[in-house]
């Protein structure tokens, strides 16, 4: 009865998740800039407890990871799964209902965190009630995705669908386990479960949906068939086999069982198999069509994301090696690595997907391709500055700590890096504001006549 209030229009759920992703992106990056300013001016925003660093950092992480990326991913699932199966989404109404519920849940959850209610566990800070609500959201999404795939018109299953199906089995389970919903834990036991979740959130949600999205976007935009579907399946099944135990590499200096650490290191190294399979396929599929990168902003974001994905996945096994981990752990290097994965890889994949999907859902071109290009370059260059600065800062920190340099001396030495980090944050925020403006103007723009609808791979700019 309640669901009849929500639209049944084709791709309406995907569209609403796209809008949600953009809104959460602006919120999340605003929190990020507040944090970046606090690194330079610690008294910024006074001593108001609601806006202290510890609380704003959590609000930032949840806004971008759950808000921007996860909403963007669900938007992609609700667009790409019907496209690949040849049937409409099982229930647009259910999708729209889950979108509203997701936004209410996340808004109140972040408010709760800012008010000081937190579980105090990395990436799992939202209070317990919100754990259950988000689990419900994931199950609804899984139900909608699987119900659509069950009605598909094609017997064969394209690799993106394999990635999406795998994710919708794994991630609700990872969320359930990571949130300790099965039994309360303490101490190192809790840390082990926390990092089982922490890394699998990345590997069995952001990676698997993100790679599935790229397997869709590159062939569709370049009009080149995938280089090798067999290779892509090797990548999928190998990630299914080896990803789960990697989380313990976050605890190599902690007194957890040695075999658990070794299993994490070995599985981290084995991840090079699915990564090399995927990246080889992405680059070989683009062969002969690299010129499209210059004219199509969706492909440009996607291919930049592939570059960052490769870098992330080369850094990962390197950092999981015990001596490297001992040297770099807790330094800004790790912060740079985390942003390389979440913003550089998966954020860019999401931008690419939104730039591709939204004109086709709205059946009109982007308001301004010039603004889209500004968004790309501010985000790309802002991110590079941020990544390089934090990598250098991390190496500085690690070197100082290895020589037992007094802490305050390290803080003073890093201050120039924190200033650069702040300016990178300004560039990134400006880029996202431009993106949000472009999305709003596109949504509000009058629909074109049928003969003006976007056709082919490159929507022409409505206004340059």
């Amino acid at each position: 009865m309640f669901l009849k209030w929500f639209s049944d229009e084709e791709f309406s759920a995907s569209k609403n998740f796209c809008y949600s992703a953009v809104a959460w992106l602006v919120v999340g990056v605003t929190f990020a800039v507040i944090l970046a300013i606090k690194f330079v001016i610690p008294d910024f925003l006074g001593v108001n407890s609601y806006l202290t660093f510890g609380r704003v950092r959590v609000a930032h992480v949840q806004s971008v990871a759950l808000g921007f990326l996860s909403a963007g991913y669900v938007a992609s699932l609700y667009y790409m799964v019907p496209r690949l199966t040849g049937v409409r989404l099982y229930s647009e109404r259910l999708g729209n209902f889950s979108c509203l519920a997701f936004n209410l849940t996340l808004s109140t959850g972040i408010l709760a965190v800012l008010l000081g209610y937190t579980e105090g566990r990395e990436y799992l800070e939202l209070p317990r009630l919100w754990d259950w609500l988000i689990l419900g959201f994931l199950l609804i999404t899984a139900f909608n995705v699987f119900s659509t795939i069950a009605r598909r018109r094609e017997r064969q299953i394209y690799v993106s669908l394999w990635y999406f199906m795998g994710t919708m089995v794994w991630f609700p389970l990872v969320w359930f386990i990571g949130n300790r919903t099965f039994v309360p834990l303490s101490g190192l036991n809790d840390a082990a479960v926390n990092w089982f979740y922490g890394h699998n959130h990345l590997g069995l949600w952001f990676t698997t949906v993100g790679v599935g999205m790229v397997y869709y976007l590159i062939p569709v935009i370049t009009r080149n068939p995938l280089f090798s579907h067999k290779l892509s399946l090797i990548g999928f099944w190998s990630i299914a086999m080896v990803y789960a135990p990697t989380g313990a590499h976050h605890l190599l200096q902690a007194p957890i069982p040695e075999w658990l650490k070794s299993a994490a290191i070995i599985s981290s190294l084995l991840l090079l198999i699915p990564v090399s399979a995927a990246v080889t396929n992405f680059y070989m599929t683009t062969k002969g069509k690299w010129h499209v990168v210059f004219s199509n902003v969706a492909l440009r974001f996607t291919m930049a994301g592939v570059l960052f994905y490769l870098m992330t996945c080369l850094q990962g096994p390197f950092q999981a090696a015990r001596p490297v981990n001992f040297y770099l752990h807790f330094s800004n290097w790790v912060v740079a690595h985390a942003h390389l994965a979440l913003l550089g890889s998966f954020g860019f994949f999401t931008f690419g997907a939104i730039y591709h999907m939204l004109p086709r859902i709205l059946k009109k071109n982007w308001y301004s391709m010039s603004l889209a290009n500004w968004h790309y370059w501010l985000t790309f260059l802002g991110f590079w500055l941020f990544f390089i600065v934090l990598t250098i800062a991390g190496l500085q920190q690690a070197a100082y700590w290895s020589q037992s340099t007094p802490w305050i001396q390290v803080v003073r030495a890093l201050k120039p890096m924190m200033v650069f980090r702040m300016f990178a944050g300004f560039a990134l925020l400006t880029g996202q504001l431009i993106f949000a403006y472009n999305v709003v103007r596109t949504a509000l723009m009058a629909a074109p006549q049928p003969e003006e609808l976007p056709a082919g791979i490159e929507p022409a700019p409505a206004r340059v």
Binding site: R151, R153, K230
Partner: protein, 70 residues
């Protein structure tokens, strides 16, 4: 320590489920022509989508195969 065993068990369960799905997919013929399916994505944005069916259908049913698009 018991948590490690719980985690290890879960990891093994996930692995066994993955192997089971893989074996099911091989037996079902999903990988029988692993390369042809890559052309499907090129048609993804050209075809009109079919309206949803009134009743759920499980993969492999006769009716679904009749609707198979070559």
């Amino acid at each position: 320590m018991w948590t490690s065993w719980v985690l290890l068990s879960l990891v093994l369960i996930l692995g066994v489920v993955a192997i089971a799905v893989f074996v099911w997919a091989v037996r079902f013929g999903v990988f029988s022509d692993a390369e042809d399916v890559k052309y499907l994505v090129l048609r993804a944005e050209e075809d009109d989508l079919a309206p949803p069916d009134p009743l759920p259908q499980m993969p492999g049913t006769k009716e679904r195969n009749q609707r198979h698009v070559p």
